[in-house]
Amino acid sequence: MQALQTLSIQKPETVAQAIALHRAGESRYLAGGTDLVPNLRRNIQKAQTLIDVSGLAELRGIHAGEQSLRIGAGVTLESLCEDATVRARAPLLAKAASLVAGPTHRICATVGGNLMQDTRCYFYNQSDWWRTTNEYCMKCEGDTCRVAPKSERCYACYSGDLAPALLALGAEADIAGPTGARREPIAALFADDGMRHLKLAPGDLLISIDVPLEAGWTADYEKLRIRGAIDFPLAGIAVALKRDGDRIAGLRVACTGLNSYPGLVSGLDALIGQKPDEAFHAALDKAVRKEIQPMASTLVAAGYRRRVAAGLARRLVERLYAAAA
């Protein structure tokens, strides 16, 4: 990898200072750096100044309330995995965090960084000389999407593990920015575009995540990856399920690694109130396949990832349904 571009690092002491330091097109926020630094080395993301937010007190801490859990964006994934409250009251989040990358990454990688990570593609996450010989791609310095050459858009894939878990739990994000603070559902942060997958304004900084704690729901997450110990999801499915007697009273299915955004599977309303029989699973299979659009952005065939995604959804629903008996 080539030498790092010239840049300066600024260390603000408050969120307000961090936002005031931000310059559109020049600055990037830096926390754990496990996603950003390799991208800077590969020259696929650029910055003249990095604003180190890892020391900001406002981004720290996990606070449990009666109805919800507040998780600071600067909480490390290791802390999230090991936190007793999270493990007891939102085990899905602890599990999803435990499946991110390797243990050394999780020590410094943060919740905010994982959620806001860049989209990935085989033709994008490569060294400069690799991309030169392949005439670059639409997402960085080129003009054609190497995955879908006739396409007008980029199909780089969102590969965060926390996002589907947060979507399945119905979490919301607290964001501070130059125009003030606001709260948005997780789904509203993302767009179906590999190049501009975050719907954030310049200078916006994720402060914390608010996870509602709903009684009676169980949830789980599974992912497909090549290296079992450390890898991005090729297909990841999170399911939250509520069982009432022998029927399913509530169901949320979210996916990652399959689109340019982490998405909630739509069209599941018709399945509420049903028993998970073959007709149910056929409809679930159809709904999952309709939501996802895996492309040739990884070395694993898109058709296989599609089949795995549907299979994981079924497996998780069956497991959670049985466990909730």
Binding site: L4, Q10, E13, L21, T34, P38
Partner: protein, 178 residues
Amino acid sequence: MVSRKGSGDMNQNTKRILRIQVNGRWREDAVADNQLLLDYLREQLYLTGTKRGCDGGECGACTVLVDGRPRLACCTFAVAVEGCHVETIESQSQDGRLSPLQQAFHEKLGAQCGFCTPGMVMAAEGLLRRNPHPTEAEIREALGGNLCRCTGYVKIVESVQAACGAEKNADEKMEERA
């Protein structure tokens, strides 16, 4: 106090004085903002035991300890560990004597080509400080981010077990059973 260093001429790497403890010794060095911990250790301090492997956080060869916890030096800016205690593979042996982990890697053939070994030893050191008697599963989990292209994982896990006395305990159990 907000640091606005480098907000002027962007064509020059801004440098600042980095106060840092490396292998037990405090030092101060002029370090550019864009300098990674790996480059600082290898090229400025000549501590070349820490290896540059994939250079992208995928192989763990550059693992060092920052305040006792494993950290990927290739994904960490040097100025980000200001005031911290950084330990590299060079801190393991004392007065010419190998550390228990190094001795175990030597005796149990935990090193083949040896390129991943500094990262493996430091990741294992980080584990043993938190958990002096890990199970095999815990060792495999802790070394999950460290890649050995000689694929000598069995010997590496055995080395870590030997270093923490797990194997000795197993032998003792065998004797007890006999």
